[in-house]
């Protein structure tokens, strides 16, 4: 199946979806693995937040579970768009399968961790996944290519709107869960991450003025 996704073999993928070869359990496992793989690829954020090894692993697992929830909302968004905008009679299960299958290239999301080449690889995998989805949705759901693109784009917009409105408490829970797993609030935005690095663990490198204000890490550990 992964091979079919790599080759964007839509006929093969259609057969997988229609024959129900990808059961609910396999779909969930696939989505969780993709989530885990991408969490590993983006784990630099956990390192920057100085998360300890055990909590690090727990954070990766939590990220995978949260990814599965995001996947669920994404499926729901596409379903609502295809049903109400394009009058498609595709079921949620069918859409869930085709979206999960199109995620297959992202199983290699952990490669984003590779220095220098990691980020371009990650973009390439996401693009491949998107192409698989845009190619797969019209065939499986019986939509025109333009409707398929619109379904995916409008689905993304709807997901964003849901996130910013009724999804806010869920986002808050997700943030809380991440902080619980990591043992501290996780900084994720680029500017604050930069500040974290500049503040750094090595107090010998801080400017004399900063050194006066902050307790050095070595002393804190010793005391």
């Amino acid at each position: 199946m992964i091979d079919q996704v790599w080759r964007l073999d839509i006929d093969g993928l259609q057969a997988v979806v229609e024959q129900g070869a990808l059961g609910a359990r396999l779909t969930l496992i696939l989505v969780l693995l993709v989530g885990l793989s991408e969490a590993v690829g983006e784990s630099v954020v956990l390192f920057l937040n100085r998360v300890k090894p055990r909590r690090f692993i727990l954070s990766l697992v939590i990220s995978a579970v949260l990814f599965a929830f995001t996947y669920g909302f994404w499926v729901l968004s596409i379903y609502l768009v295809t049903r109400f905008a394009f009058d498609s009679d595709a079921t949620v299960v069918t859409i869930a399968r085709i979206v999960a299958i199109s995620y297959a290239p992202r199983l290699f999301g952990f490669l984003a961790f590779i220095p220098f080449f990691g980020v371009p690889i990650s973009y390439a995998l996401q693009l491949w996944s998107l192409l698989a989805m845009i190619q797969g949705v019209p065939v499986v759901l019986g939509l025109s290519p333009l409707q398929a693109v619109a379904s995916v784009v409008l689905g993304a917009v709807l997901l964003f709107v849901l996130n910013s409105t009724i999804g806010r408490p869920i986002t808050g829970i997700a943030r809380w869960l991440r902080a619980r797993a990591a043992g501290r609030p996780i900084v994720t935005d680029r500017r604050r991450l930069r500040q974290l690095v500049d503040a750094g663990p090595e107090w010998g490198l801080q400017s004399p003025a900063d050194r006066e204000e902050k307790r050095p890490r070595q002393r804190r550990a010793a005391g």
């Binding site: 630099v44 300890k52 220095p115 220098f116 690095v197 801080q206």
Partner: protein, 356 residues
């Protein structure tokens, strides 16, 4: 059979690349323990020089290329450093830093793969099994990749800056003295120098310059913090030429990249070294190859000496006062706790020497 071998090689390289950032990230996250800034050198601090007239006028830190395995230098590097030190008697020349480990840990010690690296080094020194010997270069090349990655670079730079800082202070550098620091970065060492420069400049409040010796440098924000930046380049140095191609930030299409911004400010100043190569025979440090009757190494030493003089003319060290006995020297804060008592002891001995 060949395809299987290539597949294994490819997967092996992929795993090595995947694991490459772990040392820097693990260090930053405290996975290797809390005593992160503890110096690895055991010798007593040498504060022999004292008073403005006897103070060292310049500190030079040499960061070697990707063949480096630990504190010890290869013969050509050590010879270069010795000659440079002789040419600049008032300058401290440091060449004991492992630029490809934010923990300053040699490949041959305290690592799970240390026996393998010891064997690879042995082969390298004997000139046997070139592929195995080259694995040292590959390993360090991946570390340069980590350093050139915008996600990992600042962390890596901070680790190396602390290593350099420890080495400087142990060699008697006085924080706040304004004594210039110049890093000579050979090949990938130049990238590490650029990353460490902002942290060093902030911590020591001193001008930090870079003399790149066939250096490979990405477009990093550290470029903006360099006081002087000289780029020594041989016309046969293909590796350094490649360095300009692989980093998109150095392409002319990105006028706001750090590299293109410093270019508009007239940096780096390119110094043409004649038909020198990047490494091995004919390299910048080769004392067998000659140009106009002078060997490459002597030419490089002389060029670096003249550049250091030029940097000297542009930087004036500040006066430093003697600290009363019992008070903490300003640089003491930059040392780990274990060393502060030793610094105070050294300070008291200096007082005695001055009063005698």
């Amino acid at each position: 059979m060949l395809s299987l071998l290539l597949s294994v090689l490819f997967i092996g390289l992929l795993i090595a690349m995947f694991l490459a950032p772990l040392e820097a990230l693990g260090w930053y996250a405290g996975w290797y323990g809390e005593g992160l800034s503890e110096p690895t050198h055991e010798e007593e601090p040498q504060y022999l020089e004292f008073g403005p007239s006897e103070r060292h006028d310049h500190y030079v830190v040499f960061l070697d290329g990707i063949a480096k395995v630990g504190a010890e230098n290869y013969e050509d590097v050590q010879s270069f450093l010795d000659k440079l030190s002789d040419a600049r008697p008032a300058t401290v020349v440091l060449g004991d830093i492992m630029p490809y480990s934010p923990r300053n840990l040699a490949l041959t010690e305290g690592r799970p793969l240390a026996p393998f690296w010891r064997y690879a080094l042995e082969m390298k020194l004997q000139g046997r099994r070139p592929i195995l010997a080259f694995s040292i270069n590959m390993r360090n090349l991946f570390q340069v990749g980590v350093a050139a990655d915008r996600r990992y670079g600042p962390i890596y730079g901070q680790g190396e800056a602390q290593v350099i800082l420890n080495s400087l202070i142990k060699a008697g550098y006085e924080q706040g003295s304004g004594v210039p620091i110049t890093i000579i970065g050979y090949s990938g060492g130049a990238q590490i120098a650029v990353l460490a420069a902002p942290f060093l400049r902030r911590a020591l409040d001193a001008p930090v310059s870079l003399i790149s010796l066939g250096g490979i440098v990405s477009s990093d924000r550290g470029l903006m913090e360099l006081h002087h930046y000289y780029e020594l380049r041989g016309s046969k140095d293909r590796v350094a030429q490649l360095g300009n191609l692989i980093f998109p930030g150095k392409w002319p299409f990105f006028p706001h990249s750090y590299w293109n911004r410093i270019r508009r400010r007239g940096k780096p100043v390119r110094v043409q070294m004649g038909p020198m190569k990047h490494h091995q025979a004919g390299s910048y440090l080769d004392d067998d190859s000659e140009i106009d009757g002078r060997n490459h190494q002597d030419i490089t030493v002389d060029t670096v000496r003249r550049l250091l003089e030029r940097i000297d003319r542009d930087t004036q060290p500040r006066e430093i006062e003697l600290h009363p006995v019992g008070e903490r020297a300003p640089y003491a804060d930059a040392l780990p706790q274990e060393d502060v008592s030793r610094v105070n002891r050294a300070n008291q001995q200096l007082h005695k020497q001055v009063r005698q």
